[in-house]
């Protein structure tokens, strides 16, 4: 593994029968980087991510996450990553505090650590008054921000976010990205899939998947220059136009 890289992927492939969902993708992500993983629905980005976090076994190829092999060292990988899924992933019938305590608890954090950090996070989220409210009573934007805080609560080296801002209003999305930047500043690597192209502009580097392959990978400025586009939306459309898979 090269110095400074936290994710290294080489020819990673996932086949379901005859269908190749992810086709020999290769890339590397640096420590502290915000890495955008873009692609139309069905391009294979969620499948690729699931292989990295140990929810799905690769068909072939190599991948290392936080220095550990995805085939053999699954358990070590799990200790070093956080994950926020597409589906809203907090327990709605538990309170804000109970959710935090539970997720920190299953990562084996001490009561002392949980107590101190919970109050810091509630303060950051301005949710001290809601600490003992059921999560179901919170607005969606708050829930998403809380879900992100929970995903990085145990201070993982990498956090994987699968379309974290789906259905959230623009103001909350901006606040959400501020949280992502804060996490990256602390050295947490952020691996995020999205289909909001304005969010792609916020990433340090972006990869664009089309039909299971990575068609472009660079920083947003370089991509715009290469495709002679005004914004990431145009870059994406130019690439995605060649897609054969139906949405």
């Amino acid at each position: 593994m090269q110095e400074g890289n936290v994710i290294e992927v080489e020819d990673l492939t996932k086949r379901f029968g005859d269908f190749t969902a992810v086709d020999k993708i290769s890339f590397a992500v640096k420590q502290g980087e915000i890495f955008g993983f873009l692609g139309a629905n069905g391009a294979g980005k969620t499948t690729a991510m699931r292989m990295l976090i140990g929810l799905s076994k690769p068909s072939s190829g190599e991948a290392k996450v936080a220095g550990f092999d995805v085939y053999r060292e699954n358990e070590q990988i799990k200790n070093n990553i956080g994950y926020m899924s597409q589906k809203f992933s907090l327990y709605e019938d538990l309170t804000v505090k109970e959710n935090i305590r539970f997720y920190a608890g299953i990562y084996g954090k001490s009561d002392q650590f949980i107590k101190e950090k919970t109050s810091i996070i509630l303060k950051q989220l301005h949710m001290e008054e809601q600490a003992n409210n059921l999560v179901v009573s919170l607005p969606l934007g708050w829930k998403q921000k809380l879900a992100f805080s929970v995903a990085v609560f145990h201070e993982p080296r990498i956090v994987f976010l699968d379309e974290p801002t789906g259905g959230v209003d623009p103001v909350t999305r901006r606040e959400f990205w501020q949280m992502i930047y804060k996490a990256a500043d602390k050295g947490i690597t952020v691996f995020v899939t999205t289909h909001y192209m304005d969010e792609a502009e916020y990433c340090h580097r972006v990869s664009i998947m089309v039909d299971g392959r990575i068609e472009a990978l660079d920083n947003p400025a370089a991509l715009k220059k290469r495709f002679n586009a005004r914004n990431m939306e145009e870059v994406f459309l130019k690439l995605a136009r060649g897609a054969k898979r139906a949405e």
Partner: protein, 368 residues
């Protein structure tokens, strides 16, 4: 240890917050015991009957007095013709009729034999045969009363003794049955649903990405059901001892241990179901058809297994509730010890291990 404790705490939060479900889970055994104990019973009491006394003499009167005095029968009406009798049967007013022919007393006195007719509505065959048995018993009683001072040439007296349940109480049969049913429902259904709910909500993915091992997830899911089951066993036993007067004749620790074993078997089955499906509805459906119906029909609680055709008897062997039901009956009612139920215990244990192994294996496959 910390992760699993955090997980178990979370499960209890879910359980305690959902008051409605909790009430159902804890109330179910109580309601079932009360329903079976006081409402649903196959003991026959106060059945309405008609009598057609064509003799109207001293003997017939005294026989009918005995019938009336028994708690099994209420003489609803006295009729004078078969057509009246038939119409009463048709309207469903009566379940049985006694016909005493003319010259009842005379025949007894002079010919030393007389006949009476018992007619029963056999559209419900079990009730009909129970009623006619009661009626014959009353007639026998009456007969021995009037032959007291006469010497009969040859008599055989049958002395009946009903072992373990001298009062022939239905409760002796249904308390073990209700225990098997409630534990099965709570454990299988609740466990299957709580696991599948995590899949539906999408939280299962987060759990699988966390360092928690699959078997710790399963263990944490199992513990609340186990606790709830023990509470349910306790409430059933308390009700049966103090309300229904069904004693625990055998060893209480043995009974509890067997209950835990059965609970674990049901838990394993619930976990297996949850590993095979992704929707709560399917999980519920499989639990009900896969566990509840066989428990009801093939455990021997509702229908005696000996009377079933051979293939069904074979099938009943794979129903865990059958073995548990036998154990509870033997320990609780007959008061036997482990030396008499070790075979059933071993079978239950084997089923538990097998189901648990399958569940764990299946759970792991889903991870890959």
């Amino acid at each position: 240890m910390r992760p699993i404790i955090a997980f178990i705490k979370k499960e209890f939060h879910h359980l305690l917050r959902d008051r409605q479900t909790l009430l159902i889970l804890l109330g179910m055994p109580i309601v079932q015991i009360i329903i079976f104990g006081f409402a649903l019973t196959n003991e026959v009491k106060n059945s309405r009957i008609a009598v057609m006394d064509l003799s109207k003499d001293v003997y017939s009167r005294s026989l009918l007095d005995q019938v009336e005095a028994s708690r099994y029968f209420d003489i609803e009406r006295e009729v004078n013709s078969y057509s009246e009798l038939e119409s009463a049967f048709r309207k469903g007013k009566i379940r049985m009729a006694l016909v005493i022919p003319v010259n009842f007393e005379k025949d007894l006195e002079h010919q030393h034999r007389a006949a009476i007719q018992v007619i029963a509505d056999a559209s419900d065959p079990n009730v009909a045969s129970t009623l006619t048995n009661y009626a014959s018993a009353i007639v026998r009683d009456f007969q021995s009363g009037i032959t007291d001072n006469k010497i009969l040439p040859l008599t055989i007296q049958t002395e009946l003794r009903m072992m373990y349940n001298p009062q022939l109480k239905g409760a002796y049969n249904f308390v073990p049955g209700v225990m098997a049913m409630v534990l099965m429902l709570v454990c299988t259904l609740m466990t299957a649903i709580t696991v599948v709910r995590e899949k539906e909500r999408g939280t299962m993915e987060i759990l699988l990405v966390s360092p928690m091992r699959p078997y710790t997830i399963m263990l944490a899911k199992a513990i609340p059901s186990l606790v709830l089951s023990i509470v349910n066993v306790a409430s059933i036993l308390l009700l049966s001892v103090f309300v229904l007067d069904v004693p625990v004749n055998g060893s209480l620790p043995l009974l509890l241990m067997e209950s835990v074993l059965f609970t674990l078997t049901c838990l394993a089955f619930g976990l297996l179901i949850s590993a095979s499906t992704d929707s709560q509805q399917t999980a519920m459906f499989i639990s009900l058809t896969g566990m509840f119906l066989p428990t009801l029909m093939l455990s021997g609680f509702m229908f005696p297994i000996e009377n079933m055709p051979f293939p069904l008897q074979m099938v009943s062997n794979i129903v865990p509730a059958k073995w548990y039901y036998q154990v509870v009956k033997n320990v609780m009612i007959k008061g036997v010890g482990l030396e008499e139920v070790w075979k059933e215990t071993l079978i239950l244990g084997g089923m538990m291990v097998l189901l648990m192994a399958l569940a764990i294996k299946k759970f792991k496959i889903r991870l890959a």
